[in-house]
């Protein structure tokens, strides 16, 4: 039913859409730019259908020979660059996530990014920005390019191919964060995202080069991902490379994942990336691109698994990030930033799961998270559409005005908080269970489990804090009151238009039911329990996953409910336990959270200001001035001073030259005549 050509088509159709929009519609047919939305949606829709077919094919078929050997692209000596598709359950899941969320987000964008020639019926009310024609085509061109790049990334069979698409999604992220580039904050955020992720990409690149130089003498091509995964751990046993080298490669890749997935030291770009249009945040900075880091670790999981040190680092970074980001989410007043911190925190969860060896649950959580987090972002966009601001302090009372947004947002929040029986519950429970069962007391895995359990409480709290602040109580003025909201649209309290509401409703369905896809508890007919995670782990030799533990599920649910209860007490029953009182009571910590642990300040003042500027830049400057320039100057000085001696002969007196010439001829003649 599905073959290699059709799998290639999944990637090429969005790419074709990008080419049509960027090379034809945008420059030549601007007056028809309203067709760019439908073009993008139809192309992604076809990709989505093909992805679903691929997914079913991979899920039902035990042999995964859907694709042939990679094609050779370039051969230089021992360097074989091949291009091909790596089709395994991980790829199939990612294809569905990327195309599915992308399709929903693009439909939503039709309403959010107001199409041109459309504003007459509600001229007083537009999206966050009044958008002209070129912007509309540009937006959908970028979105198509992003989707194509992300599909290329998940399908890549070769590390070079993977890296190219890895950088391309970073580029698309930059372009889309800075989509409203005339706004200084957006331009700065785009630059920040690009530079901070580049720090991580550098680690990834070093890992790839190190891998290449360690293995290019081998007979098989170590640039192919399947070869790396199958053979690299064996090379350690064979003594070709050391265990330290393997750890180094794994950690380099993980540095790349840290940058892309906004893990702890490099998380600062992701909250700022919320300057981009909200559908972009939903697609790129919640559901797909930021999960590329998790995908990368999962893709090279056998390497990580062979190196206990690397696994420990992954666990620690994941656990720390999960709780670290959640604490910042507790106090943020910007609804999109709350969701952004939540995304960082959930990505930490996935890393934690990978670190404790729970490969299947990590990808399962990635899968469910993509749907409900995209849903939540679309909900925040819908709220912004009505109030014109993202600041929750100026929202409130939207429940009766925007019932569909409210219900879908509620579903997303419940799912994210991990309330039974929504999707988030099952995936989160799997991770907690694995972290708990994999470790002994006082092990890294157990530490991760404790951190994750605390994060469960925080997640429930901040999501319901956002929900109560946005939808309950009285309306607090929207953009009319918000002093910083001048860039957004006016207040217009009503449900968003149909193209925006529809994707939210559609996404709410998987947010509720998709957890059952894994068949979490016990065998159901012919479908074995945990078939989804089993399928993902089919080629890995992992210990069997622990069985469903009702006690743990009840404990984590109770903790989540406790978080919701606290949020309810503070933000719904305001007088009893007001947020202001809580802020005062917990003051030093509260201020620390509110200022994001001063990480940005540390980067700005210490890393950039001291280490980079004072240390590296000024030292380089001194070396450049005093050593490099001096050397050049000395060479020049020698030339000038030797030249000045000879220069004296150049008097400009023709007769002097003629005299010298004549005397010379006489001497030559004399030598010729008398000397012979």
């Amino acid at each position: 039913m599905i073959n290699e050509q059709l799998i290639w088509a999944i990637f090429f159709i969005p790419l074709a859409s990008f080419c049509v929009l960027a090379l034809l519609v945008r420059p030549f047919f601007n007056s028809y730019s309203y067709i760019s939305g439908p073009i993008a949606i139809v192309s992604i829709g076809i990709s989505f259908i093909l992805s679903l077919l691929t997914f079913f094919e991979v899920a039902t078929n035990s042999n995964h020979n859907l694709v042939s050997e990679p094609n050779s692209w370039l051969e230089i000596g021992n360097f074989h660059f091949t291009v091909g598709i790596l089709m395994d359950p991980l790829t199939a899941v990612m294809l569905v996530v990327v195309t599915g969320v992308s399709l929903m987000v693009q439909i939503y964008s039709m309403g959010y990014m107001k199409p041109p020639n459309h504003g007459s019926e509600n001229a007083e009310h537009h999206g966050p920005e009044e958008l002209g024609n070129p912007v509309y085509a540009r937006y959908f061109a970028y979105m198509s390019l992003f989707t194509a790049s992300m599909l290329g990334l998940v399908m890549a069979a070769n590390v070079v191919q993977l890296f190219v698409f890895w950088e391309l999604v970073g580029l698309c992220s930059y372009l889309l964060i800075g989509f409203w580039f005339h706004r200084p904050a957006a331009a700065a955020a785009a630059k920040k995202a690009f530079i901070v992720t580049r720090v991580g990409d550098f680690g990834f690149l070093i890992a790839l080069m190190y891998l290449f130089f360690k293995t290019f003498t081998e007979s098989v091509n170590y640039l192919e991902i399947s070869v790396i995964n199958a053979n690299l751990p064996g090379l350690v046993d064979a003594g070709v490379i050391t265990a330290g080298a393997l750890t180094l490669i794994a950690l380099g890749m993980f540095v790349g994942a840290i940058g892309k997935s906004g893990q702890f030291p490099l998380h600062t770009w992701l909250p700022d990336a919320m300057e981009g249009p909200t559908p972009v945040s939903a697609l790129i900075h919640a559901a797909t691109m930021v999960t590329a880091g998790v995908f990368l670790v999962a893709r090279f999981f056998p390497i990580f698994e062979a190196s206990p040190d690397a696994m420990m680092v992954v666990t620690i970074i994941g656990g720390v990030t999960a709780i670290f980001a959640a604490t910042m989410g507790l106090v943020s007043n910007d609804i999109k930033r709350v969701l952004a911190y939540s995304t960082v925190s959930q990505l930490g969860y996935m890393m934690l799961a990978l670190g404790v060896g729970a490969y299947g649950p990590a990808i399962f959580h990635l899968f469910t998270h993509a749907f409900f987090k995209a849903l939540l972002f679309l909900g925040s966009g819908s709220v912004n559409h009505a109030t014109g601001t993202f600041d929750m302090r100026y929202m409130g009372g939207l429940r009766s005005k925007m019932p569909i947004t409210y219900i879908t947002f509620l579903i997303g929040s419940l799912s994210l908080a991990g309330i039974f029986p929504l999707a988030g519950f099952w995936s989160k429970d799997e991770i907690l269970l694995n972290a708990f069962k994999h470790g002994d007391l006082l092990s890294v895995s157990m530490m991760g489990f404790v951190l994750a359990l605390i994060a469960v409480f925080m997640t429930a709290f901040y999501m319901f804090r956002a929900l109560f602040m946005t939808f309950e109580g009285d309306f607090r003025g929207g953009s009319d009151k918000d002093p910083e909201a001048q860039a957004h649209g006016p207040v217009h309290l009503a449900e968003s238009p149909f193209p925006m509401v529809l994707p939210m409703i559609i996404l709410a369905i998987p947010a509720v039911i998709i957890g059952f896809l894994v068949n979490p508890i016990k065998d159901f007919g012919s479908i074995p329990a945990h078939w989804f995670t089993h399928k993902l782990e089919h080629s890995l030799h992992l210990p069997p996953p622990p069985a469903f533990d009702p006690l743990l599920a009840i404990i984590s649910s109770l903790i989540a409910l406790l978080g919701i209860l606290l949020a309810w007490a503070m933000y719904k029953r305001n007088p009893y336990l007001s947020p202001a009182t809580m802020g005062r009571v917990t003051d030093p910590i509260y201020t620390l959270f509110l200022n994001k642990y001063y990480v940005d300040e540390v980067y700005e003042k210490f890393i950039t200001g001291r280490i980079y500027y004072r240390g590296i830049a000024q030292t380089s400057d001194w070396i450049d001035r005093n050593i490099v320039d001096r050397t050049v100057n000395i060479v020049g000085w020698i030339g000038i001073n030797f030249g000045s001696l000879i220069r004296e002969l150049q008097t400009g007196q023709t007769q002097m030259y003629a005299t010298v010439t004549s005397v010379g001829i006489v001497i030559i003649a004399a030598v010729y005549i008398f000397g012979m």
Binding site: R647, Q650, T651, G652, Q653, T654, Q655, A658, T659
Partner: protein, 113 residues
């Protein structure tokens, strides 16, 4: 009259001319000295031509073909070309005079450092 005398005359003319070229400041004087050098060369050329072939008035075509006049022909050419060169040199001197109000070649020293 022997060949040596003519050659000595040519050498003297050439030496006088060379001295003038190298020592005179005035551009016209330098040009005149150049002419003297030309004439030294001309004398030498004609003398060599005269003394290296037998002096007989040719009466037959065959004898005339052996009567080489190469030096004489060269001399005529040199006189013609020198005349043209003098015209050119004078033009240059006039151009120099117009730009710097001087025909002293010691003043034309833009090629100095």
């Amino acid at each position: 009259m022997t060949l040596e005398r003519f050659l000595i005359l040519g050498a003297i003319l050439f030496g006088i001319g060379l001295y003038g070229v190298l020592s005179k400041k005035h551009a016209i004087a330098v040009l005149m000295s150049l002419e003297i050098m030309f004439n030294g060369v001309n004398v030498t050329a004609v003398a060599l031509s005269r003394y290296t072939v037998p002096y007989t008035v040719p009466d037959t075509f065959e004898a005339a073909s052996r009567f080489l006049l190469t030096g004489h022909v060269f001399t005529v050419f040199i006189i013609t070309v020198a005349a043209a060169e003098v015209a050119l040199g004078l033009a240059i001197i006039i151009a120099i005079y117009r730009t710097r109000q001087s025909v002293l070649i010691t003043d034309a020293k833009e090629l100095s450092r």
